[in-house]
């Protein structure tokens, strides 16, 4: 089985460092990377709508000089005819050099990786994992703070279904002196298994609260999330919880001057547009950081597969 990226924990701390350094070098010297993937093809298989992640992968491949094959709508693909993920992965392996896949079912990317003969990047498998978003988050933290250690990180909003939150906790858990402040309504708290198997198992410091404003002064990073309609079976629950936290300039008054505000996007209304011009808002920088990390990742996996 060739190397794929399914979960952020597939990457060692050294590999995260290596990807960060490659991404920083791409930012500094884009021309050096502009033709590295000439003649190579990335297949983006998106069985669930996500314009921005798909475009980020495609932009990443184009900036490496490569080409893109794209399946954007499951309704038009063979999946609608009943083809399995396993078969799809085998077929696409005959056309492309690397796959980026999003699928509504949890574990779909792993099944694709088990059957493909080329690297598979998980671009989101239902509510389970979204490792390249975490890579974008990490590069943003590195560029804004210069480090991954000695940070108080506030995670706010939907901490139950928010896969980016679980992945980010997993990634930051390996660094020294990182403290988590988990801010959510009671119903959307971090699942107990994340607390038991990541936070408590590794002896990490964390507090849970429902009060964003009280937590604000101590935060170095505030990671806001959207309450996602598609993760709820019950529309009433979604409507009741969707406006739990809305970040406004008022609430930022007690925040540190060098706070970094992150959000995986898309935003609905959980961050007021008035904050966009605040220098502490980093969520649009996060988008471009995501592209650079995806470039670094594509290069790494193609090299490990012997394609480059």
């Amino acid at each position: 089985m060739v190397r794929s990226l399914i979960d952020i924990t597939d990457l060692s701390t050294e590999e995260l460092e290596q990807l960060t350094n490659t991404a920083l070098d791409i930012i500094e010297h884009p021309a050096d990377y502009a033709h590295l993937c000439a003649g190579k093809k990335l297949a983006t298989l998106f069985f669930e709508p996500s314009t921005r992640t798909r475009l980020s992968f495609e932009a990443a491949m184009y900036e490496l000089g490569g080409n893109v094959l794209s399946v954007t709508d499951a309704a038009s693909s063979s999946a609608a005819k009943g083809e399995s993920v396993a078969d799809t992965a085998k077929v696409i392996s005959c056309y492309a050099d690397i796959i980026a896949m999003r699928h509504p079912k949890e574990g779909a990317a792993l099944v694709a990786a088990m059957n493909a003969s080329i690297p598979v990047i998980n671009a989101g498998d239902g509510g389970h994992c979204h490792p390249t978003q975490t890579l974008a988050d990490l590069l943003t933290i590195r560029r804004e703070k210069g480090r991954y250690s000695d940070l108080t990180v506030g995670l706010c909003g939907d901490l139950k279904f928010g896969r980016t939150v679980h992945s980010l906790i997993n990634a930051l858990a390996r660094y020294e002196n990182v403290r988590f402040v988990l801010i959510s309504p009671e119903e959307l708290k971090v699942p107990s298994y994340v607390k038991k198997e990541v936070l408590q198992k590794q002896g990490l410091s964390y507090v849970q609260t429902t009060d964003l404003e009280a937590a604000m002064p101590e935060l170095d990073i505030l990671y806001m999330t959207r309450v996602q309609r598609e993760r709820f079976f019950n529309e009433e629950d979604y409507l009741r919880l969707k406006d739990s936290y809305i970040l406004t300039p008022d609430k930022l008054r007690s925040a540190k001057k060098d706070l970094s505000i992150l959000h995986p996007l898309p935003r609905v209304n959980e961050i007021s547009v008035a904050i966009d011009s605040d220098p502490r808002a980093c969520y649009f920088k996060q988008v471009s950081n995501g592209k650079y990390m995806r470039m670094a990742l594509i290069l790494k996996l193609l090299k490990e597969a012997g394609t480059l």
Binding site: E106, G107, A108, L110, V111, G127, H128
Partner: protein
């Protein structure tokens, strides 16, 4: 209460009291056309109470499944009325095709041919998780 000794077969002993029936069901013993005895709440010096299953046939048993349901159980193989092998059971690292993932969002719910695989993620608390979606085993 006496249950006759078996001549050729398998005795699953030291089953935690109350788990015998679950093991009987998961091992599919109800579907066998051989004598099977479940003895519940047997007084045990070591365990206080235990369950025992006796299968009167020399059949292969799924050690992984037994290790998943009750890692403290022992399996005794009987041939010609004599104990020929006594095996301690441990929790298996992986369970392949033994139990099914119940998460409706898991890829195993739609990929019909896909084998259900669980891995041991927390030995102390006996936690198994689906390798695909990481949902805890029932």
């Amino acid at each position: 209460m006496n249950i006759d000794s078996i001549h050729n077969g398998v005795v699953i002993d030291h089953i935690s009291a109350g788990r015998g029936m679950r093991l009987y069901e998961l091992l599919g013993l109800g579907e066998l056309d051989v004598s099977v005895a479940i003895i519940k709440n047997v007084v045990s010096k070591k365990m206080g109470k235990k369950d025992i299953i006796k299968i009167d046939a020399d059949l292969p048993v799924d050690f992984d499944l037994i290790g998943y349901v009750d890692p403290g159980a022992t399996v005794n193989i009987i041939r010609d009325g004599k104990l020929v092998e006594k095996l301690d059971i441990d929790m298996p690292e992986r369970l392949v095709g033994v139990i099914k993932c119940k998460n409706p969002r898991c890829i195993t719910s739609t990929e019909q041919e896909l084998e259900h695989v669980f891995k041991l993620t927390d030995r102390k608390n006996k936690v198994y998780r689906c390798v695909y979606c990481e949902t805890k085993a029932p």
